[in-house]
Symmetry: none
Subunit: 228 residues, 4 copies
DNA sequence: GATGAATGAGTTTTCATTCAT
DNA sequence: TATGAATGAAAACTCATTCAT
């Protein structure tokens, strides 16, 4: 998907003897990633300072460089983590499962399930969206490509779920190519717009109408045929 | 000498010497805005340097400050210009006109027209989208609000067009609130995602499928009822 | 006195034919000097900008350079003008005259007269003091030397007046070397302190007590012997 | 990741690694203050550059900003230091002590002591005077006010010393209000003038006569009554 | 391992002066 | 003659990264 390997478990320096604490490096990297996430969400990548991140992680800024290559790598880690969480939230495998068990019997149910997840995500972790779309996208071409890659991956996964469903026995009528396309691209269609709309908690009304509209859009597209 | 006389800018002498070449300031500001647009699209706001912009505009960096307050004002100018162009492209007034003349007789035609415009914009001026969504959104809360405001304005304009259409005599059936909501929010739904997808000219195929999906989505949503 | 010649009536460029307006250059230089005085008093030398001065003088900044060598020369001109006015206020020649006519018959009368003049000056033209002591003194060694030279000149002039008085027939008792020294250095003793004390019009009380103290100092020193 | 936990700077880890060398900050600030003092005396505040100061302090200019907020704070520090030293030199408390022990029995002795201190100061630390009067006064209204405040403080301290003396038993004759006023304002009267007169070591003769005159002035004012 | 100290490259901005018209 | 336009040198300041301890 993306050209950089996601996590790259690097041991920063060859160590001799028994490592004092085995997973320390990984733990530190995780803490730093979390800290960086917070700071990037707050201030944006460029305005964020490495020392802010170190402070938030509770370590010295020198220490930071023992576990991480620099500011840019922190952003990569954060984006990787966000991608991971995004996929976890969308959970295409679970989707396949639900389709298999018959819990999601019709295409429009798939789309609703997906939409619901996406909106919940936007509610519960708006920072993730901000990072993935607005913030990281503004840094580099390279990063923008990676994020495209992520949405591409989501697309592929959802597509696989839909394939599974088709195989499971959706009627030819139900399995409309246009509908499939829509469901597949749902995340990349909906999320960036939502990220841009994220304000404080103040403009719930506007957000609701946005959410509503998107819902209509989905339901309109998919439900239309089913419901008529 | 004595103590300061109040203001007394002397009697304004009759104009002599090099005439204050009229309109220069506006021309320079326009040139600078264009240069800044290019540079911001290329490098992003934060990485762009004022001297890059001046160089691109073909003037010294000192000169730049004669016409513009600084880097931030340049961004404001660029965003304003983009907003202006975006509205010009969507041309809601023209939409109203077309509805009045009967050239757009059905809601789905309105949405198609709108969609077509948006896609053409993304084709012809991808930088505009990049600025309006990814780049400027990453700079400031304030700027993010302005851009939300812009999309809000578009919403209002399209809404007005739809009102006109309704008044023009769409049947109650045609004038479905859900469809209206979708058409209204089309720009804010579609554009950010497209901006994020913008690569070089290389990934036309992917973009096409994106465009196609969105088209389906629209057509699905609106057409559904008309076609059934 | 100072190492630079005060006014240096320079015609900035050799002109051919009948000069259009004879004293123009001098008039312009005078206007510029006045404008520079105002601006320097307001903002201080370093913070003052040449274009402020040109604007205040009602001419373009390009024009300014036709009559004046640059910012630094403006300061020189201002200092020269201030020096001139300071000497005019103290008017040592008039002092000699008054002594000759018997209007000032006793040393303490000379000192009172002088003190009165200095205080009036501080009241009526505080900017002059600010320039001569605080502002110009902070710019250069050279300028500080010139101002020392100015006070030296005042010293010499007052000294000459006192010589005249002595010649006129002050008794040996009256003509006390210590008193002469005090009177001579009165300006350089009193003025810098006053300049530093100059605030707005608000702290009149404090200034009054300052003035009073200085008066006491003078009167105490000189009057003491005469009055007892 | 998740949404930002409030603050949670982790549990403050046990101190390890390079110890935050205690007192370094204060030492650096002191070094920088000293360097800034030298540079400001040499070049004046406005002409002095931050990198000059850093170089003189033997550190990089980036380092400077670790310990000091910027150029303006350096000036504040320098002025504070000067004020402190000025008060230490005048040592009003010691004055009170000397009066109590009878070492200074008469008002004129107080004034002589004070004068002697001031002249010694001008000899030994002329830069201090330059800063406090000429240089800092030219920067800001605010700074001018602070310096007025300093002289006001000195005034108050000397005044307290004189009160103590009066209480100690100066006769009503000795305790003349005019004389007290003079002694009190001695510093603010004398120092600015001296600062302006400060050249290199070349003009000792002139400075001596200045000092002499001021001495005469004092002695004349105060002694007059005692000696007659 | 951990850390804070150090730093210079790079950024934005100001403004005295020159010059084409 | 008069002028505003142009400009580059210089300044203050920030911060990611390195390194001695």
């Amino acid at each position: 998907m993306s050209r950089r390997e996601p996590v790259k478990t690097r041991t920063p320096r060859p160590r001799r003897g028994r490592p004092r604490s085995a997973g320390l490096a990984e733990r530190r990297r995780a803490e730093l990633t979390a800290a960086a996430f917070d700071v990037f969400v707050d201030q944006g990548y460029e305005r964020a300072s490495v020392s802010d991140i170190a402070r938030r992680a509770g370590i010295g800024q020198g220490t930071l460089y023992r576990y991480v290559d620099g500011k840019r790598e922190l952003l990569d880690l954060v984006v990787d983590k966000c991608a991971e969480e995004l996929i976890a939230v969308i959970a295409p495998d679970e989707l396949v499962g639900l389709i298999r068990t018959g819990d999601l019997a019709l295409p429009y149910q798939v789309s609703e399930r997906l939409g619901e997840r996406l909106f919940r995500l936007a509610d519960e972790n708006p920072g993730l969206l901000k990072i993935l779309t607005v913030q990281a996208g503004a840094v580099d071409e390279e990063l923008r490509y990676r994020i495209q890659g992520l949405f591409h991956t989501l697309d592929a996964m959802v597509s696989k779920a839909l394939d599974a469903a088709a195989y499971q026995g959706w009627s030819g009528d139900d399995d409309d190519p246009a509908a499939r396309l829509v469901v597949r691209l749902l995340p990349s269609l909906v999320l960036p717009g939502m990220a841009l709309s994220l304000r404080g908690d103040t403009d719930l009304k506007r957000r609701e109408s946005y959410v509503l509209a998107t819902g209509q859009l989905l339901r309109g597209g998919i439900l239309a045929r089913e419901l008529q």
